[in-house]
């Protein structure tokens, strides 16, 4: 494992080059360019606000609904982008994989960096909204950093498994958007966690993204640190899962060129 991590470090220039290629190629010959990175979470926020807040009157824990939903959408979009684009990244680069050896996880990390850049762009609006709705800026907000780390680890672990599976079974790519739709509604993105009845919580909270997304909201909107026990358990599980997922990926990687 240590050897693999050193190998990744050794290929950091490659990861940056691939990320640069992904970003530049994505916005080439578009009129709006990087504004597209804003439009994805922004349009979702508008739709959610209309349907869930204006029409369905879903509560949002006393916070204006637009900033309530956007505080989750910014991070969820990042999560979905890493996994969505990462899963197909092996097949998208199959010409490279067939012809040259390099550690294949560099493709996943490049997708991760490019998506992180998009999130950074989308965050500018988020900061604007916090100021507009007079949400007090506190030091508790720094909890976002460990939460973001946890989310990244989870996203990279999941994408390791899915990317390896997608090389062998393209069904994965077809099923993914469907799974993500369900996963998003199983996560408190459009509604508050308080909407979930107590008796159902133990099952509901098995979804690590529920802990993470609710954590962001508590830290940013309510100035409350996340539940440390829940966070610790989630972190432990994700780390273990990540180790397994990465080993599986490294093992599957050896035959990517044969089956892709």
């Amino acid at each position: 494992m240590f050897e693999h991590l050193r190998d990744i470090w050794h290929h950091r220039d490659l990861i940056l080059s691939l990320a640069f290629r992904d970003v530049k190629a994505r916005y080439k010959q578009t009129a709006l360019g990087a504004i597209w990175a804003l439009l994805q979470p922004l349009s979702m926020m508008v739709v959610f606000t209309l349907i869930f807040s204006v029409f369905a009157k879903i509560p949002s824990d006393g916070v204006p609904y637009p900033v309530f939903s956007y505080s989750a959408l910014v991070f969820w979009t990042f999560f979905a982008a890493v996994i969505g684009q990462g899963t197909v990244s092996m097949v998208a680069n199959k010409e490279l994989i067939r012809k040259i050896y390099f550690p294949r996880e560099t493709l996943l990390l490049a997708v991760f960096i490019a998506a992180a850049l998009d999130m950074l762009i989308a965050s500018t609006i988020f900061v604007g909204m916090l100021l507009y709705y007079h949400i007090p800026l506190t030091l508790t907000m720094l909890w976002v950093i460990p939460l973001l780390f946890l989310q990244s680890l989870l996203a990279l672990s999941v994408v390791c498994l899915l990317a390896a599976a997608h090389v062998n079974f393209r069904d994965v790519g077809h099923g993914l958007p469907l799974v993500f739709q369900i996963w998003m509604f199983a996560t408190p993105v459009a509604y508050p966690l308080s909407l979930i009845p107590e008796w159902f919580r133990p099952i509901y909270m098995l979804n690590p993204m529920a802990t993470i997304i609710d954590g962001y909201r508590q830290a940013i909107l309510h100035g409350r640190p996340p539940d440390l026990t829940a966070l610790g358990i989630t972190m432990g599980c994700v780390l273990l899962f990540g180790l397994v997922a990465f080993s599986v990926f490294k093992k599957a990687e050896r035959t990517f060129a044969d089956v892709i």
């Binding site: 080059s17 640069f20 290629r21 530049k24 040259i100 050896y101 390099f102």
Partner: protein, 410 residues
Amino acid sequence: MSDIAIELHHVSKKYRLRRGWFVTSLGNEVARLSARLLGRAVPPREEFWALKDVSFDIKRGETIGFVGANGAGKSTLLKILSKITVPTRGTFTVNGRVGALIEIGAGFHPELTGRENVFLNGAIMGMRRREIQEKFDRIVEFAEIEQFIDTPIKHYSSGMQMRLGFSVAAHIDPDILLIDEILAVGDASFQAKCLNKMAQLKEQAKTVVLVSHNLTNIREHSKRVIWIDHGTVRMIGDPDAVVNAYLDHVTTAMTFGEGSSERAERVALDKPACILDVAVFDHQVHPQSHFDTGDSVSIDIAYSLKAPVPGAVIGVTIQDIHGYPLGGIVTDPNGVQLSSEEDRGILRLTLNPLLFTKGTYTLDAYIGDPTLKKYYDYRRTAAKLVVDGAGHTSLASGHVHYPHRWEKLT
């Protein structure tokens, strides 16, 4: 440091042939299982061994050539050496940094500029950013695209892209360089550049592994040649010996026209015209297949006509060892007339002097309508010519020895 650059121990590589996992592979497994339960013969798995028990070692600083037919396993071998894939069985060691001129320009992105692609491509091939920065000017100069370096490469010609890709690959400074068929692409000046680069690496005592169908290049540049046949090492040794053995094998494996007149007779029943036999003779009309450049060659073509075919023509096409056509000769409908009155005939085509350089050539013969939009009969590799090449003509590249003279003017 050991003086062995590459070492293979009983390396085998298996590929599964599968189209749609559930349909074929799973179906296959179910069939195997049910056959076993019912006590019937178990159908084989759909798999094939691209390499079977291959062992050899290559010394540091050696240039090794690989020959073998398409699908013999050469590319699989290179894929294993460059770590693209892993062997199913066996072990191998590679000492030193490997550079591969296998697919130059792989990973070029059309939207990025030449400069950006140099950095991307260099990184993919394992170079650090600082290393690329140091070599950048040399890479661009070698590729001869200074003016266009900040243009997106989608506007490059294919030749420019290839030059840039090769230039990046050539500057990796590997300890071991793998070259696959690269000499087959590009124009003559590009090929000359490749050869110079190879010579330079040889001077620096780098290890070079060369795979090519161009047997002349293999012979000239390799210290030893390995012949791969159906996934196994058939022969290792002196370049001349191995290349000659391989050539003999290839040419005898081809199906020639001899002994097939009987079959031609049968086919002729429902064809208006057919080629019965093709034979090659020397200037004394002795059957012969070996010639020198400049000899006189006669090719006799026996044909039959079952029905009146107005204006039918007979022709031959000559190909090199790879089947690439080098030229064709057709009878002039206003010259030699094929009459349907007599249902059989023999035409003699004389090539004098024979213009081909050293090599093995095959000959197709056909009979068709005057516009050659329709062939009544087409005999592939109906005969072969082995040209030994006289004197210094064997040094020249290409297949044709042009009639010429040199004069010293001042």
